[in-house]
Symmetry: C2
Subunit: 385 residues, 2 copies
Amino acid sequence: MRDVSIVGIGQTDVGEHWETSLRHLAFHAIQAAMEDAGRPVIESMYIGNMLGGQLSRQLHLGPLVADFAGMRGVEAIRVEAADASGAAALRQAYLAVASGTVDTAIAVGVEKFTDVVGSERAAAMASTLDADYEGAHGATPVTIAALLMQRYMHEYGVDLANFAGFSVNAHANGALNPHAMYRNRLKAEGFVAAPVVAPPISLFDAAPEGDGAAAVIVTTTDLAADLVPTPVRIAASAAATDALSIHDRAKTLHLQAASISAQKALDQANVSVEDIDLFELHDAFTILAALSLEAAGFASPGEGTNLAVDNAIRREGRLPVSTFGGLKARGHAGGATGLYQIVEVALQLRGKAGDNQIADARLGMAQNLGGLGGTAIAHILEVTH
Amino acid sequence: MRDVSIVGIGQTDVGEHWETSLRHLAFHAIQAAMEDAGRPVIESMYIGNMLGGQLSRQLHLGPLVADFAGMRGVEAIRVEAADASGAAALRQAYLAVASGTVDTAIAVGVEKFTDVVGSERAAAMASTLDADYEGAHGATPVTIAALLMQRYMHEYGVDLANFAGFSVNAHANGALNPHAMYRNRLKAEGFVAAPVVAPPISLFDAAPEGDGAAAVIVTTTDLAADLVPTPVRIAASAAATDALSIHDRAKTLHLQAASISAQKALDQANVSVEDIDLFELHDAFTILAALSLEAAGFASPGEGTNLAVDNAIRREGRLPVSTFGGLKARGHAGGATGLYQIVEVALQLRGKAGDNQIADARLGMAQNLGGLGGTAIAHILEVTH
């Protein structure tokens, strides 16, 4: 198995891009990544996308995006794992290079929400749940996350205010990120008083859906050294699944797939959680931030919110998370989110994170969840310079 | 890169399974493949599916199918490349094993058409075309295929009757296959007189959409020898893309992706077209059968229909195709079709094809197309016993 490194990253702003189509969003991210990598020859492309079929009536993104990006002919395949599609695309690109089949591959995540608004979009989002046992009964991801959060608060005696730090931190970091969807700061008092979407989840708790695209180019670590000044090595890549519905899980408040994928990644990288300098987690809702910290081993069960309360998750804290705003403030770009996470960890490790830079970043983890954790994909990145 | 072999295959009947859901279809194929392989431990699953989001309101098939099949926890990802999704799933499973990341993986193709009928289904099928430049104007795969066929007949002076042999052969073979959707035989006179769908494509030319699922288990060639009596080696796996729309292509009548992927596969297997004992091609329409034969190098441009006219494609002919009925008679199970092709080649190479058996099958090729050839994925399988 060959060692793999990242040599190019690109991203568009996350937001409401009414006048930019799905293919154009992907194109902009690909061009930025190609520019960043010095325009290497790409042999295969993996495209992470969640809702193109339902919102844009566009499947078969492989040939569409490859051709539009000027790469007609290359192998190009879409992968879909709900909102973990972005990390899934990176994992396939990683496997393609690791296997020796190709030397250089690109993972592209793209989501275009604004082709549709209103209930049709909510119905599309619900198709990431179990259609027969959840979607058909009116459940959506936010309503299921609300049940999870209620249970957490009940089980562990945790107050709503304890979750505020996740959103406050995300917005503080998003305010410095020129690509972020929301650049306003948020106060803890605002969090607990925000208009409720599905109790106890409020507007300031749920991440906003935003159009966007991000791209990452990978090649062998041997080749990477000649291409760019600071290759970012993929020290680990791991994926796992859980029951799709939370009502089917052995322990409702344990994200089993997140736990398995994080542990596998730590084992593969031969490091422990103490070695991780930053963690881009999947804060689609603050409850998922808390549960992700617990599943990955950064906190014990019921103590995930402590890291927010203690300010450990801030840029200057013990374990910075959502350093560019996370899903909450940078915006949740669906099937692109997992690659935004990777782009952001890579920027931190390169020391090119600008105002969002954290100190001494050498080893970073990103974990992308699909839905309420039915899928979890973890990557650990490192620089050795 | 590790050598990879097939150790388990499974399929459901193709047809209108009104009372069988998407997950149940997948389950049945997986169970059959597991039984066939002696129930090895599966480490990762790739699911090829095209229209689950639009027809069944079900995305995120990875955790849903893995859990329902009793494999909760394993890595499980959906791949989508229109109706080439099945072969794309096999290719990802192949890469996962080849890379050394996992020892054993399963590729599952599943499509459930009968959750929706009528124009909504036609609209969903159109999302495999270019939504902005084709779908929005009312084009569907069959109308684009009709333009392609008209152009072929005009350019090469070929009569409609010359295409009849593809459907006649498919139905002759489908009549012997207990899993086939259509088991009636067809006469050449019937082909030219059939009700027209989009001129010159008739009911007896276009493959029927059928619910179905197929699964293939792969492991390293080293491990395979201990698991099953007749492992089928994947001698080659290759994928390529073309412009999604035929109006964008350099040569309208040349399936460039099919040509590239076939040539790459032949090179990887280190064989030539003369060595191929059977070819499971993507006969969604007879024009695609003719163009596939030309693209892969079995016929010169404009001479693809000659193999049908000369009966070379029959089971006892020089190059048997659609040996279990092909898309036309076995049925076109969307994102499962590419894995039906692989199952069928494997059965031939094992010498277990029953009434459909061809003589001396040692090297078989399968090529799965997405849409009108925007994606093409070729596999070459061999037995060495």
